[in-house]
């Protein structure tokens, strides 16, 4: 299913990453997973958190530009070929970006996908029998 992902604009400088994490910690918000996309000049921190709506408010209050996007979380078997099956099911669909993390569910991993058409993608995945994380 679709999840709300927060994206933050960061400058590419020392200390930029710790500040937003501290803001979330102070608000008692848990970071489920994150990824950092960076260029020479700036970075985008993408976060999935326990309470996205409140997290967006506290981060904006702290002076961050926050963008909320819907992403799709997919569970895959942590074995050779697991990812290939998912990507094959999505053949021809535009993936804006993706990142993966182990989820403490034994031999499963979770993939986060940013699609430009998330609903169509979910349909495809379901049809292929792939587990979309609610």
């Amino acid at each position: 299913m679709k999840h709300h992902q927060l994206s933050l604009f960061l400058e590419n400088q020392p200390g930029q990453l710790v500040d937003p994490c501290r803001v979330l910690a102070d608000a008692g918000i848990d970071i489920r997973t994150l990824t950092l996309a960076d260029t020479e000049r700036f970075g985008i921190l993408r976060l999935i958190v326990s309470d996205w709506a409140r997290a967006a408010v506290v981060l904006e209050k702290a002076g961050y530009v926050v963008n909320v996007t819907e992403v799709v979380a997919i569970e895959v078997d942590n074995r050779p070929g697991g990812l290939t099956e998912v990507l094959q099911a999505l053949d021809g669909m535009n993936v804006e970006y993706m990142y993966a993390f182990p989820f403490g569910r034994g031999d499963k991993a979770v993939l986060i996908f940013r699609f430009d058409q998330p609903d169509a993608a979910i349909e495809r995945l379901r049809a292929a029998g792939i587990n979309v994380v609610p």
Binding site: Q5, F9, E11, G63, V65, V66, N67, E96
Partner: protein
Amino acid sequence: MSFHPASAPDYLPRAQMQALQLARLQAVAARAYDRVELYRDRMSTPPQVGTLEDLAALPFTNKSDLRDTYPFGLFASPIEEIVRLHASSGTTGKPIVVAYTKADLDVWTGVMLRTFAACGLHRGDIIQNAYGYGLFTGGLGAHYGAEALGATVIPISGGNTERQIMVMKDFKVTAICSTPSYFLHLLERAGELGVDVSALPLRAGVFGAEPWTDSMRRRIEAAGGIRAYDIYGLSEITGPGVAIECEQQNGLHIFEDHFYPEVIDPETGRMLPEGCEGELVLTTLSKQAMPMIRYRTRDITALIPEPCPCGRTLRRMRRIGRRSDDMFIIRGVNVFPSQIESALLAVEGTLPHYQIVLTREKGLDEMEVLVEVTPEVFSDRIGALERLQNRLAGALEHTLGLRAGVRLVRPQTLERSEGKARRVSDRRNLG
């Protein structure tokens, strides 16, 4: 259209205005000569002012004269008669100090009253004064003018944007005074908080203390649902209230009964005919505590010869786009910050907060433009932000004819001073 009796001098027939100006000019020149050493030394003989044209024979006064005579050296009144002092922030050296007698404050209040009246404001309006209160002339100048008009003044001063938005909404504010860059910031913050400023009773903004372009005005007017008026003033002359736009928004009427304008060639100091662009020079016609004779403002403008359809006979000057001392030269190219602002706004109308940083690396000048990212343009996709960065750099190169780096930065990270955006940071001589 309402009319306030205090605005009567705005409509004086020209001949009457010139007679008034000449009488006041003769008095102020004599006062400056009699009471201020610097003027006496420069003029050498008592000033002979038989006509307004004779003013051109008197020496100029510069900002450095205020610094050199710091703090009280240009006062023409004994301290017993001075009821108020203001000072500049002094970010570029010693502050400059300005003084007012009771009569000077009355004049200042009067021109600020006429300023608000020209913007269509009147008794019953609720004016949120977000200019800084304190040594800066903006806050108190606007405050007393709005009170004299009979409007309701909210002396909120600058900063604390969330409270400004709450007050604007809850108090049903109809007009705001601030720097244009601060109001833009307020609009953005309001948007984030889910407040649509264009749906509020706010209908006018009196914006000044920094140069701003017409494209910025269009953006402010569209997003705020208001008319945005350009106000001009400087502490050395009185503070805000030297000139203001009327409902035509086509040039600023100078309150000529108190401030006499000339436009000169900044290189030669020669007076230019009406309509020619040059440096604005102002003479205070009624100032007691600190008369300014031919003060060089460094602001570049032109006097508009045609009469204004609004009916005011006060001469107009074009909006100040640049200052003769804001220009910087990079790799042999003359650049004004206003050119950079126009280029940025042409690409992306929502990126008004910027700073130009000049550095020198291995003997080569480099220019980088820092642009604050706004929620409207921020994307979670790297490619989209890189494309934005490239489009901005492309527009700068196209406008200026030289390459400039563009760096996106977090909101509210660029320096601001008393609500004024600091547009150029020249670090070329620092090491």
